[in-house]
């Protein structure tokens, strides 16, 4: 029942926003209808046409509120007209409903809105989260989150952001912007699962499913969908019973969600068949697929992963992609080669303050047997890390290298396969790539002296 209500909720909200331009009114009316349904249906039985019941109830509420305000006769007539045109047999993703929901998504994710506002408004209006749930997920107070939503809606009204689907020649670029918001939402949940944001990963998967239903022919929508399914499939094994992060090579792969991996691979296979060159999201999905399909960590095809990062870097020359590539080189050719690749990345000032830079360096040094240097790099990473789970993981590794007093003779052979981050986590969403400009100079080369004591 909840899923059916959810599909209808979004359709009705989008329609009411279109005709009234009043986001709060639309959300309140639909929320009211949903609450009535959840109170009444279990008692009186589900109506013959639940979609029509919800629509009528929400529209009645809207008419009621608009009548009381008196000044909004135009909107009143619009809602009446909307009520008359609503069919009873409803494909929630078809015809006018499809357009309404696309308008809503493109408006929530408009590039003229602040990024945090795009994320909050999408989760509030499209995913239907409450302000309280949003505040808990983003570790801010409820009034702060309320202000963020209000400022975002106010900018929509003041700046004249229309409730519409972009012009065809802007559609692909604007879709990338929507995907960036969905990916940010997913990553917030993926990388900060114990910060109250855990459900956001599932919301991200739901949102990309919605986008795939609304824009079935967009390659990058399908690419992101495959990526999120393949990453989310690992969720149960990423933390142990105590909530501690488990690096990929230590994960019990039997805990991976095989059905979700099959879904993700099916989406990926379909986009391969179309024969078009892969975009950044599909490339990342291909990388995630290498992990998902490897029977164990040792069987991971790192050669192919490095090639995929090379292609990704050509499209998205971001230092974060270069960092992930350096880590992959470390698994393909050994930690020494990884450090050589990393030396180039470390010159990029844009990564200053990014905890995964010293964390990757630390892991390579640890595997090389340079305990003292690894410990120093873990300490650097600990001064920068944001989430509690990653902090505890880095502290654990620091204890291990300082306790073992590892020498070059007894290498720690277990690599952290993207220990503290999914491959895509460290990647900058395409829509935001303007913030990161091209890495200057030769791409990868230059070995530096490493592990001077050994």
């Amino acid at each position: 029942m909840a899923a059916a209500v959810g599909e209808q909720r979004l359709r009705i909200v989008a329609g009411l926003i279109r005709v009234t331009g009043d986001w709060e009114l639309a959300e309140d009316c639909v929320q009211d209808a949903v609450e009535r349904a959840l109170a009444r249906w279990p008692r009186d039985g589900v109506p013959v046409n639940p979609a029509a019941w919800l629509t009528t109830t929400a529209h009645r509420r809207a008419l009621d509120l608009l009548r009381r305000r008196r000044t909004e006769a135009d909107k009143l007539r619009e809602v009446q007209a909307l009520t008359e045109t609503e069919g009873s047999a409803v494909d929630p993703y078809g015809g006018v409903y499809r357009d309404d929901q696309l308008r809503l998504l493109f408006t929530c994710c408009h590039p003229a809105l602040p990024p945090a506002g795009r994320v909050a408004l999408t989760l509030k209006t499209v995913a239907g989260l409450s302000t309280r749930e949003l505040a808990a997920a983003f570790l801010v107070t409820e009034p702060t989150m309320g202000q963020r939503l209000l400022r975002t809606r106010t900018k929509i009204a003041h700046a004249g952001i229309a409730f519409r689907v972009p012009e065809p020649h802007r559609l692909a670029a604007r879709t990338v912007g929507v995907l960036a918001v969905v990916y940010l939402i997913f990553n917030e949940g993926y990388s900060n699962a114990d910060g109250g944001a855990g459900d956001l990963a599932a919301e991200g998967v739901r949102l990309v499913g919605l986008l795939a239903a609304l824009l079935p022919t967009d390659d990058e929508v399908q690419g992101l969908r495959a990526l999120l399914l393949l990453q989310h499939a690992r969720r149960a094994s990423r933390t142990d019973v105590n909530g501690e992060l488990v690096p990929m090579e230590e994960q019990d792969r039997r805990g991976w969600d095989r059905a979700m991996i099959v879904d993700g691979m099916a989406v990926l296979d379909r986009s391969r068949v179309a024969g078009r060159a892969p975009g950044p999201y599909r490339l990342q999905a291909e990388i995630a697929a290498e992990h998902a399909l490897a029977p164990d960590a040792a069987a991971t095809d790192w050669a192919r992963i490095v090639v995929l990062y090379d292609v990704l870097f050509d499209q998205q020359p971001s230092p974060v992609v270069a960092l992930n590539r350096a880590a992959a080189v470390g698994f393909r050719d050994g930690p020494q080669a990884g450090l050589a690749a990393l030396a180039e990345v470390e010159r990029d000032e844009r990564l200053a303050g990014y905890h995964l830079l010293p964390a990757v360096r630390a892991d390579l040094l640890r595997r090389l047997g340079c305990a003292a240097e690894a410990a120093a790099a873990y300490r650097d990473a600990l001064t920068l890390v944001r989430t509690a789970a990653e902090r505890r993981f880095l502290e654990r590794r620091l204890r291990e290298v300082t306790a073992s007093g590892t020498t070059p003779g007894d290498r720690a052979d277990q690599p952290d396969v993207m220990a503290s981050s999914p491959p895509g986590d460290a990647w900058v969403p395409a829509g935001e790539s303007g913030q990161l400009r091209q890495v200057a100079g030769p791409k990868w080369s230059v070995a530096t002296p490493i592990c001077p004591d050994s």
Binding site: A159, G160, A162, R164, E167
Partner: protein
């Protein structure tokens, strides 16, 4: 909906080899579609005069009211359907590449 478009310089202009657009063609298109209200170049900051009144005293100073590396070199008032249309028009202005444009929506005096 009316927008004031500030036309400003930028320390990092576009260096790509995209084909050049000229301001005459931009103006002809925007004016021809009835989207252009008024606009002009303005003289550089060194020709600016700042005016304040404090405790009844008129204070006139030479120069702009803010120190900045980016100067406003012109303005246009655009009358558009919505922000997307204003963005579309702004994106075709030659200074979108040579400098930067800022769109500020009008705030009519009778609106709260």
């Amino acid at each position: 909906m009316k927008y004031l478009m500030f036309v400003a310089t930028d320390p990092e202009p576009d260096t790509s080899s995209e084909p050049h657009t000229d301001v005459e063609a931009w103006f002809a298109d925007v004016e021809g579609r009835g989207k252009w209200v008024i606009g002009d170049r303005v003289r550089p900051a060194e020709d600016a005069t700042t005016v304040r009144v404090r405790s009844g005293e008129l204070l006139v100073t030479d120069g702009p009211y803010t120190e900045s590396k980016d100067w406003i070199v012109g303005f246009d008032v655009l009358d558009c359907e919505d922000l997307d249309e204003a963005i579309e028009i702004a994106s075709k202005h030659p200074m979108a590449r040579a400098g930067r444009l800022e769109l500020r929506p009008f705030w009519p005096i009778d609106e709260g």
